[in-house]
Amino acid sequence: MTIEERNKKLVQEFFGLLNRGDVARIVAAYAVDGQLQTMGRTLISGRFTRAQIEAAAGQIYQAFPQGLAFTIDAMTAEGERVAVEAHSQGRHASGVIYSNEYHFLFVFREGRLELLREYMDTERVTDILCGGQRPAAAAAT
């Protein structure tokens, strides 16, 4: 198995964990110094350490009582980097159906996630996940 094939398999497993809400194994997939970066300037944007991911990972079920299902549409791998096109769908606690489209960049180091960077439609994030609210700094600029 090439590095690229192994990393694509790790990505598939990671989305399986996300869809099952297996927080302990989601966190364990990251390197000790691994980070998640949610792009944009929304209330949920930022760069998060493993400890912060651990604290936040279970909270998705507060916004999506039945969970949020991710589907991989395509993957491209080169060395330790895997680019993923994906989409999600779930019923928000408010009753609204939420869906989004993503481009994820996974960067691995020795089989663990060094960085996961997610790009998505931030307007949908603000409208539904953040209830229309924006960070004060973003709203002012």
């Binding site: 909270q59 079920y61 916004a63 969970g67 606690a93």
Partner: protein
């Protein structure tokens, strides 16, 4: 009936031990939010936070507002208990124990219970359909959640009434009782004794894929101590039982109060999840969740010192006009969100998905069979506990099923 504010605004006095307060605490909370939102309860020597922002901050900032030595409002109550409850711990100990239980409490994992929940609901409703009388709590709500928890922790049907009775003993409070009474301690000790025997009985078996099995496997692997396993079984018997039972009663009452909205649910059961979210916001069954101050912190000009106990008044926060438009109006179509009925953050209720599943199935079956129920107000009885809010009796009449 309308969703108008319940009663006039009284002076700011919050007494979570006053039985009258339990009947309608909302005007008291509103007054506190408006005039004294970080309220110090002198007799108990603890703080009560009533604004959404403050409660949410306390939930999120788990290093300033800690769970170790908290959970109960009563001073030293937890220290008296020999079996630790994992909700009374903080990361990393809390994370270690929670990780054992979490996978089994996710929506996908719980889905396999829906068939049992539905069948048991129908079974509990059946004997009452011909008579046209049902008590939503005493005949239905007090049995179903305990039966479901019992499956998860392998308590056989013959033992369930006793376990439920001990859980009731543990949470019951006399009017203005501010310390644990003999009945509470006896309830706790009976549960502890039962689960000591229960774990011993199951220790040598191959463990099932349920919460008991997961905890016994964790104990064998050194991830959970025996005392923690017993403590968590006690916790599941209380938490899995009392709060969902009360939520079912609260929702039955609020839907009767707003019968036009109940009609919408009868016509479209797909709206039931939204009605559950609005009930959780408008009249949730967790009234006050407790933290202790980990480091000195100032809130709205008041200094809360390290070690102080803090009650997070969730049902007050969920009616905060600074967060929710028309907060005193029950409206299942508002798209209720951001309520903290299950807490928030690292300690958010592990059983939230199960509570939602049980409540949805119950009201799907109830509204199919007794869509026109009328609650007999004179028969309503309340549970009296500062933490849990809800009824012990919600008697109703409805059109009897044809023989």
């Amino acid at each position: 009936m309308s969703g108008a504010p319940e009663g006039a605004t009284p002076p700011v006095t919050l007494d979570p031990y006053d039985h009258r307060f339990h009947w309608d605490p909302y005007p008291f909370y509103r007054a506190a939010r408006e005039r004294d939102p970080v309220y110090f309860y002198e007799p108990g020597g603890f703080w009560l936070l009533t604004k959404w922002d403050d409660v949410n901050r306390a939930f999120r900032d788990h290093k300033t507002f800690i769970n170790s030595g908290a959970v109960a409002l009563e001073k030293d109550a937890n220290e008296k208990l020999p079996y630790p409850l994992f909700i009374g711990s903080d990361p990393p100990e809390h994370t270690r124990q929670r990780a054992v239980l979490t996978p089994l409490m996710m929506p996908a994992a719980l889905q396999k219970l829906e068939g049992f929940i539905r069948a048991r609901t129908i079974e509990l409703l059946a004997p009452h359909l011909a008579s046209g009388r049902l008590d939503f709590v005493a005949d239905l709500g007090c049995y179903l959640p305990m039966d479901v928890v019992s499956i998860l922790i392998d308590v056989p049907p013959a033992d369930r009434d006793r376990v439920r009775g001990w859980a009731d003993d543990l949470i019951a409070r006399e009017d203005r009782q501010t310390d644990l009474a003999d009945r509470n301690v006896a309830g706790y000790m009976n549960l502890a004794q039962y689960f000591e025997a229960h774990t011993a009985q199951h220790a040598g078996e191959s463990h099932k894929e349920d919460l008991l099995g997961a905890m016994l496997r964790a104990q064998s692997a050194g991830l959970m101590s025996h005392a923690e396993v017993v403590g968590n079984l006690i916790l599941l018997a209380i938490a899995g039982n009392e709060t969902t039972t009360k939520l079912i009663g609260n929702m039955a009452y609020r839907l009767w109060e707003h019968s036009e909205q109940r009609r919408w649910l009868v016509e479209d059961a797909g709206l039931i999840p939204q009605a559950i979210e609005e009930t959780l916001r408008f009249d949730g069954s967790s009234q006050i969740l407790v933290r202790r101050v980990g480091v000195d912190v100032t809130l709205r000009g008041k200094l809360l010192r390290k070690g102080d106990r803090v009650g997070l008044c969730v049902i007050s926060a969920n009616r905060d006009a600074d967060k929710f438009a028309n907060p005193e109006v029950f409206d299942i179509r508002r798209g209720s969100r951001d309520h903290m009925a299950f807490g928030y953050g690292v300690h958010a209720c592990l059983g939230a998905a199960l509570a939602r599943l049980e409540t949805r199935v119950v009201f799907e079956e109830v509204l199919r069979r007794l869509p026109d129920y009328e609650i007999e107000v004179a028969g309503l009885r309340r549970a009296h506990n500062p933490n849990v809010r809800g009824f012990t009796h919600v008697p109703a009449r409805f059109t009897p099923a044809a023989a």
